[in-house]
C-alpha cells in the first residue's frame, strides 16, 4: 500500500504543472492526432486516389516553408500587439482543421490540393509562437523546462497515435476521404478544448481600464496601448546570444528524413515507416525527465549537451551502429533541445512581447535547419 501511494505522489509531482499547460498539451495531443493522420495517408491519397506523381508534388514543399516562417513571425507580432495569444493560436488551430475539408473538396485539382496543404501549414505557423508563449507565461520561471516537457510529451503522444488512427480507419474499411473527415472532427475538438480550457495569461501588470462614466462608449472600454511590441529583434543580450547559438546549431543539424535515409541501408524496407515512430516514442518518454533536468542543472547546459548527443549520433551513423541506438539518441536530442530551448528563452523576454520573441527563435532555428538540409542535399547529390 505504502509503495503504491508513494508512486502516486511521485506521479503527481511529475505532473505538477499548471492546469493551463496541461490544457494546451491536451489541445496539442488531439490536434497532432488530427494532423499526423493526414500526413500519414496524404502520399497514398495523392498517388492512389488523385493519381499524382509525388516526384512533382515534393517540389512545392520548399515554398510552403517560406510561408510558414513568415506567418510565424507575423502571428507572434499579432499575439503581442493585441495581447491575444489564445485568439491567434485558436485561429491557427481552426485554420488547420478547416484545411481537411479543403482537401476533401479539392478532389483531383492539384492547385486546390496545394492550397489546402498551404492553409494547413499557415495554421501551424500561426499557432506555434502564441501557444509556446502561453505555456511560458503559465509556468513559474523555475519550472519552464518541466512545463515544456509535459507539453511536448503530450504533443508527441498525438503524433504517435495519428498514423495508427489513420491506418486503423483504413483497415476498418474506411476510405481516404473518411480519414480527412475524422481528422477535421478531431481538429475541431481541439479548438473546442482550447476555447473552453485554455486561459489567455494576461500579464497582471497591464492595468484594467475603468469606464469613465455611466455611459461608457466602446472607445473608452478598449484597454490603453499595451507595451508596444515591434517587428524588431528583442534587445536582451542573453536572448540574442541564445538566438545566434540556436541558428548556428541549426546549420549543422541534419534533417530527420536525411537521417532516416542513411538508416535505410540497415533496415528492411517494410520498416521505413516505423523509423519516425521510434524517434517519437523515445522523445515522448524522455521529454519530461529531461525538461526537469534542465530546470535543475541549467537549460542552456542541457541544450548544449543535446547537441553533443547529436554529434555522437553522427558518429554512430558513420560507424554503422544499430538503427535503434540512433533513433533513441534522436529522440533524446529532441527532448534536450526543442522544448528546452523555449524554456531557456521564455524567462528572458518581457511578458508582453514573449510570443514575438519566441517566434524569432523558432523561425531562426527553422531557417537555419532548412539551409542545412539544402546544403546537405546538394553535397549528397554532387559528391554521391
Amino acid at each position: 500500500m505504502y509503495v503504491a501511494t508513494a508512486k502516486l505522489t511521485r506521479l503527481r509531482l511529475l505532473l505538477a504543472v499548471p492546469g493551463n499547460v496541461v490544457a494546451l498539451g491536451a489541445v496539442s495531443l488531439v490536434t497532432d492526432i488530427s494532423s499526423e493522420m493526414v500526413t500519414a495517408v496524404l502520399p497514398y491519397y495523392l498517388v492512389l486516389v488523385v493519381g499524382l506523381s509525388p516526384l512533382a508534388f515534393g517540389l512545392v514543399d520548399g515554398l510552403y516553408f517560406g510561408v510558414t516562417a513568415l506567418v510565424r513571425l507575423a502571428s507572434g507580432y499579432a499575439a503581442d500587439r493585441w495581447q491575444r495569444r489564445k485568439l491567434v493560436a485558436g485561429l491557427g488551430y481552426g485554420l488547420s482543421a478547416l484545411s481537411r475539408l479543403g482537401l476533401l473538396a479539392a478532389g483531383a485539382s492539384v492547385p486546390a490540393l496545394g492550397a489546402a496543404v498551404a492553409v494547413d501549414r499557415a495554421g501551424k505557423g500561426l499557432r506555434t509562437a502564441p501557444r509556446d508563449a502561453l505555456i511560458s507565461l503559465s509556468a513559474e520561471p523555475g519550472q519552464q523546462g518541466q512545463a515544456f516537457g509535459v507539453h511536448r510529451a503530450m504533443d508527441t503522444v498525438g503524433a504517435f497515435l495519428g498514423p495508427l488512427a489513420a491506418f486503423g480507419l483504413l483497415a476498418l474499411g474506411g476510405a481516404y476521404d473518411l480519414v480527412f473527415v475524422a481528422s477535421f472532427a478531431l481538429g475541431a475538438l481541439g479548438v473546442v478544448l482550447l476555447v473552453l480550457y485554455v486561459r489567455d495569461a494576461v500579464p497582471a501588470r497591464v492595468p484594467v481600464p475603468v469606464p469613465a462614466g455611466p455611459v461608457a462608449t466602446l472607445a473608452t472600454v478598449t484597454p490603453p496601448p499595451a507595451p508596444r511590441p515591434s517587428l524588431r529583434l528583442p534587445t536582451d543580450r542573453r536572448f540574442r546570444r541564445i538566438l545566434l547559438l540556436a541558428c548556428l546549431f541549426g546549420l549543422v543539424t541534419l534533417s530527420d528524413s536525411f537521417i532516416y535515409l542513411l538508416l535505410q541501408d540497415r533496415v528492411e524496407p517494410a520498416f521505413f515507416p516505423l523509423l519516425p515512430l521510434g524517434t517519437a516514442l523515445a522523445y515522448l518518454l524522455l521529454a519530461v525527465p529531461v525538461g526537469r533536468l534542465a530546470d535543475r542543472f541549467g537549460r542552456m547546459r542541457v541544450f548544449l549537451a543535446g547537441h553533443g548527443l547529436l554529434a555522437l549520433l553522427y558518429v554512430l551513423l558513420a560507424v554503422n551502429a544499430s538503427p535503434l541506438a540512433v533513433l533513441v539518441l534522436l529522440g533524446l536530442f529532441y527532448a534536450a533541445t526543442d522544448g528546452v530551448l523555449m524554456a531557456a528563452v521564455g524567462p528572458l523576454l518581457p511578458d508582453a512581447t514573449r510570443a514575438s520573441g519566441l517566434a524569432w527563435v523558432q523561425t531562426g532555428q527553422a531557417v537555419a535547419r532548412m539551409l542545412s538540409s539544402i546544403l546537405f542535399g546538394l553535397a549528397w547529390t554532387v559528391l554521391g
Binding site: 506523381s53 474506411g174 478531431l186 473546442v192 530527420d256 521505413f272 554521391g384
Partner: protein, 303 residues
C-alpha cells in the same frame, strides 16, 4: 462540470458526423464497362471480379495486382493472378503502387512503387521498379543496379530512378524511363544480358504498341504538364496525341490504333495517330486493361 458536458457533446456530435459521412459515402459500385477491365475508383474492385487492387494489369492468362494492406505499417504486395483472378504468388514490396504491367505473353511482370522518405529533402520520393519473370520465378525488387549506358557511355550515379517498364513480344527487350540529375530518359533494356541504354530524352512511362513499332508515352511540357505522345521506333519521330489535358499515367493500347489512359479519375481513349478527340470511356475508374474477348466492342465505342 459544464465544460465537460460541452466537450462531451461536441465529441458526440463530431463522432456522429464522421459516422454519418462513412454511411453516406458508401454508394453503389459503378457499372462494369463493356470490353475493358478497369479498377472501380470507389470500391477498388476490378471489373466483374471480387479482386481489390490499387493498380492492375493483365495479358494472356497472367494478371498483376498491386495492393496495400492497411495496418500500423501499411504493407504493399504485388499479387500474381491466374486467368481466374486467383492468387498464385505474392511478392512483398515497399512503397505506394504507381505502375503495373504484364508482357503480352503473360510471362514478364513489372511494377513501380513510390518509396517515401527515400530522399534527402522532406516530402521527397523515389521510385523502385521491380521485374518478375514468372517462368523462372526470378525476382528483381529494384532494378536501379542495372548497368546503364547514357549516350553510349557507361553511367554511374546514386540518384538513378527507374519507372514505367514495358516489355516487347520476345519477353527480353523492354522500355522504361530512367531519371538522373533532374533529367528523364527513355531506356531500352536487355533483360537476359541485364543492361540498359538511353534512346531519347523526356520520354516517360513508355507503353509498347501491340505491333511493337511505337511507344505511347507522357512527355513533360515546358509548363510542367505531361502530354500523351507516340514515338515511332523506326524513325524516332514523336507525334502529340489529340488529348490536350495533363495526363499522368502509363497508357495501355486497346488495339494498334487506340490508346487508353486514366485522367482526372476517369478512363479515356484517344486515337494513337494524333488525330481525333479524347473520349471518356468509364467514369470513376483507373487502370484500363483491354480484355480481348470484348475488345472489339470497345474499339467500336472508342471511335
Amino acid at each position: 462540470m459544464k465544460r465537460v458536458l460541452i466537450v462531451s457533446l461536441a465529441a458526440l456530435l463530431l463522432g456522429l458526423g464522421v459516422t454519418g459521412y462513412a454511411w453516406w459515402r458508401s454508394g453503389p459500385v459503378a457499372g462494369a464497362p463493356e470490353g475493358l477491365l478497369v479498377r472501380d475508383a470507389a470500391s477498388g474492385l476490378i471489373t466483374g471480379t471480387d479482386r481489390r487492387c490499387e493498380r492492375f494489369y493483365r495479358a494472356a492468362d497472367t494478371g498483376v495486382c498491386l495492393v496495400v494492406e492497411p495496418g500500423a505499417v501499411p504493407k504493399t504486395f504485388a499479387l500474381v493472378l491466374d486467368r481466374n483472378m486467383r492468387e498464385v504468388r505474392r511478392v512483398r514490396i515497399a512503397g505506394i503502387p504507381s505502375r503495373a504491367r504484364v508482357s503480352a505473353s503473360g510471362r514478364m511482370i513489372s511494377w513501380t512503387v513510390f518509396v517515401t522518405g527515400d530522399s534527402y529533402n522532406s516530402g521527397g520520393f523515389s521510385t523502385w521498379t521491380g521485374i518478375l519473370d514468372t517462368k523462372t520465378g526470378y525476382l528483381v525488387t529494384n532494378m536501379e543496379e542495372i548497368p546503364l549506358f547514357l549516350d553510349g557511355k557507361r553511367y554511374y550515379s546514386v540518384d538513378v530512378n527507374y519507372w514505367g517498364v514495358s516489355f516487347a513480344a520476345d519477353d527480353n527487350r523492354f522500355y522504361a524511363t530512367v531519371s538522373t540529375k533532374g533529367r528523364t530518359y527513355l531506356v531500352e533494356g536487355d533483360y537476359a544480358n541485364w543492361r540498359a541504354k538511353t534512346l531519347a530524352q523526356n520520354v516517360e512511362c513508355p507503353s509498347l504498341s501491340p505491333d511493337g513499332t511505337r511507344l505511347a508515352f507522357k512527355k513533360r511540357m515546358p509548363g510542367g504538364d505531361w502530354r500523351l505522345h507516340v514515338l515511332d521506333l523506326a524513325t524516332m519521330r514523336q507525334t502529340p496525341l489529340g488529348e490536350p489535358a495533363n495526363v499522368d499515367d502509363q497508357a495501355a493500347w486497346l488495339d494498334t490504333k487506340t490508346v487508353l489512359y486514366g485522367r482526372a479519375g476517369d478512363v479515356w481513349s484517344v486515337p494513337a495517330d494524333g488525330t481525333g478527340q479524347p473520349k471518356r470511356l468509364v467514369t470513376g475508374a483507373s487502370s484500363p486493361v483491354p480484355f480481348p474477348a470484348a475488345a472489339a466492342a470497345v474499339s467500336r465505342m472508342a471511335r
